[in-house]
Symmetry: C2
Subunit: 230 residues, 2 copies
Amino acid sequence: MNSDTTIAILGGTGPQGQGLAIRFAIAGISVALGSREGDRAAAIAEELNRKLEGRSAVPVRGYDNLAAIDAAERFVLLAVPYSGHDATLGVVKGHLAGKVLVDLVVPLAAGNPRAVAMPKEGSATEAAQALLGREVKVVGALHNVSAHTLNALEENINCDILACGDDVEATDAVVELIKRLGVESYNCGPAVHARCIEALTPLLIRLNMSKKVPFSHAGIRIWRPGRPGV
Amino acid sequence: MNSDTTIAILGGTGPQGQGLAIRFAIAGISVALGSREGDRAAAIAEELNRKLEGRSAVPVRGYDNLAAIDAAERFVLLAVPYSGHDATLGVVKGHLAGKVLVDLVVPLAAGNPRAVAMPKEGSATEAAQALLGREVKVVGALHNVSAHTLNALEENINCDILACGDDVEATDAVVELIKRLGVESYNCGPAVHARCIEALTPLLIRLNMSKKVPFSHAGIRIWRPGRPGV
């Protein structure tokens, strides 16, 4: 399969980054998987390519984070744990000018995945925008889809993806990129809405962990009259 | 139909309060509709009872807000506009001891229903708990269901209801009350989660108003594997 674009996934060797890499590869998008250590990213990329054998997919390639950014045309996804959010951005900031940083990070409270501990800016997305300055357009998205769901290739991704960012065009472009994964995705407005969207994740984790709630792998969907299959 | 319980809806003469009153009446729950002016509440209650003619429903009765609270066994729903949130609670505070205050209010930004302007406590639910003190248990719920949906009796309520509050037992009890409307409802944890749940409303309003999004009357659903009809 030929790819029409290359995206980077920083922190791409974690379960969420790997799941996204596989899903984008199957969607025909070339993924530059980034890690602090390029060798580790290259090894994980080869593992993912073995998982993709027999499918029509674009090969995943591994790089260190800076080289992954340089390989990406426009979209750079940030999939590190919250503890590495600001530090990673600080390291890569100089390489991001002109790119769109898609921030997936949820500020889960330390030791408690059922709660958020938002940064003083209000959300990780807003903190990233403040840290990177206006030359980089930050879009928050893909917070609420679990690594489990992404890696369960036998099933479709059965939740909607809510995106937000202060640049309308960049946010719309991220929504279109995400739709290529076969999901519904919406531009939910300015970055301030990330305070809500990021906080949905611990709410879902809480439901998944609850003994009273008879399910796991919960996701969010936007219901509307006449939605097929809903 | 005989009712097994009576609930109060303060600010019940607005579109959301009316819609909830009708839905609870059909579910067999007696509603004491409250307003600052008891005569107005009584007149609206009679209008609602005319709408309910031909259905098996408990009659709705209208009172001033304080009398409505006194008529309620346990649950007092607050459905005033945000501009009247704190003032209404200040007036009725002395009558609420031992009750559960179900706060439906979304702190929409003045003049902009596509954004929230959260109070310093973090959310309306948390502000209500701070204002009322610990003798009153506050549960945030029913923020995301539109007045349109509630009043469209020919259709089921097709969104889920997310509830949160610092008292687990009270929150679970509100969830059970809400389930009687034929919806799925979840205890989403402590009151701090109201910062997310309340903020979902302007996000939905934004989608409903968007020219790019091909629907209106959006709601939130918790998706999980195997959910019937989802």
